[in-house]
Assembly symmetry: C2
Homo-oligomer: 297 residues x 2
Amino acid sequence: MSEAKLIGLDWGTTSCRAYLIGTNGAVLARSTNGPGILGVENGAFGAALDGMIGGWLVQHGALPIILSGMIGSRQGWAEAPYVCCPANADDIVKALARIAHADLRIALVPGLSTENGAMPDVMRGEETQIFGALGSSDDGRFLLPGTHSKWVEVAGGRIVSFRTFMTGEVFGALKNHTILGRLMRAGEPDAAAFTRGVCEGAAAGSAGALLNRVFATRTYGLMDRLADTALSDYLSGLLVGAEIAEAAGGDVTIVGSATLAAHYRQALRLLGYTSTLAPEDCVATGHWRLARAAGLC
Amino acid sequence: MSEAKLIGLDWGTTSCRAYLIGTNGAVLARSTNGPGILGVENGAFGAALDGMIGGWLVQHGALPIILSGMIGSRQGWAEAPYVCCPANADDIVKALARIAHADLRIALVPGLSTENGAMPDVMRGEETQIFGALGSSDDGRFLLPGTHSKWVEVAGGRIVSFRTFMTGEVFGALKNHTILGRLMRAGEPDAAAFTRGVCEGAAAGSAGALLNRVFATRTYGLMDRLADTALSDYLSGLLVGAEIAEAAGGDVTIVGSATLAAHYRQALRLLGYTSTLAPEDCVATGHWRLARAAGLC
């Protein structure tokens, strides 16, 4: 077992994953059930940090610590202002924010901002995952699916641009807070309904057509064209298909949980795109690379 | 004052409007605050009806009664199965459902169904508004904006086809149940933000682009490009603009409340379409026409 060099935390809104990291970013230990920033009361982030990694500090001494994700937002521990794209690891390192807590050296990774046409977009945490997922390559297209899916272009080691799609959150809002959920019943995953959704979502046409097409989730149920247990998968496919048809443009590397990645890989395949899966702990590799570039370890 | 001939009720999910109707559909009296079908417990629709129109029956005797809207759905008083488009007033009249309640003759207007490609669509209640709004014309394009906007084509006195857009309900779900509502603050209506939304929604492009573009509601707020009091109007405009760009195709008659109609008229004008406003009580005219065609009065 290699020597511990760094502690990295991917600290988001609703959860936190902590890594004890050795040489070359090897993950020596992990703790995946930490509280998200919404779960930390009265700004007690220091105590929350001690709770998650105190044991490692006792065992390995005062290792350098690097935090990425929403912990660096206005609602987090301290704000690390956005760095504009295009940005490489050095640009990010120059903008690391620092926190003093006990005798620990803590660095906060800034988020990135970009402009698509006149529309601003932002990320926090995904940049670290991407620098971890890049591997030995300097170029690539990345998809980080989820509540807010991010599609990210990397060229020459720089994150050049990205776009956010609210696919996961829109799905939840439509399922749980509109008439579309009324006919739905929980059941086994229905791959055929998901496939149908993907194809119809990809073919939906205009932005307004989506406001019409989602209503099929109700009328397919009313007219018995889909079983009540299939409607949720249909709606999920519809939104994922629409997202991919707009965002995809060639081979893509997916960074995300196995279950969600499998859904997206299936949808990508249906629409003619190849994809590969990034290693599960790539965010720790990102922590390592950024910390090394900053001379923290 | 002409003699009372008919009582018509536009009985929807969340509210009911009742009309005392004279010759040629003249509205002699109205009651607009009746309970929607969700507000009637244990199927006590007869009692709810008596509560709304009992006074008129005492005054004018046992007038014929016609009901339109969700009252004729599976969740309503009795089911009046959908009639397929294209459908004229005679087709609808042939499918009227009948209810016996006390000594009253009650007719239930069926809803309409259609197919757009392989997607079924349905309406209940709007068909009656449209037959009322048609006036002396046999042709027209109608927009009934709201929770579920309907765009309807009428030719030769038949409702030929229609499409539902979940614009209003999607707006509510996004505003109240996603991150997009977090930065919003209530304020005076912001016409400039609504206009900006309409133009950007109409230009959004694909179905998937809408999943990206709605996120501008957050990033415009984060980056101080729009005031927190403007974000709700921006999001509303975005969805309305997307709907109109997909659905509009020439002059349209709007059937709906004055406030909502004004918003849509502004958006239509911005995107180069003319519109006219149907009379407020056109549903009563529709009740009259259908009841006459059925020989009820």
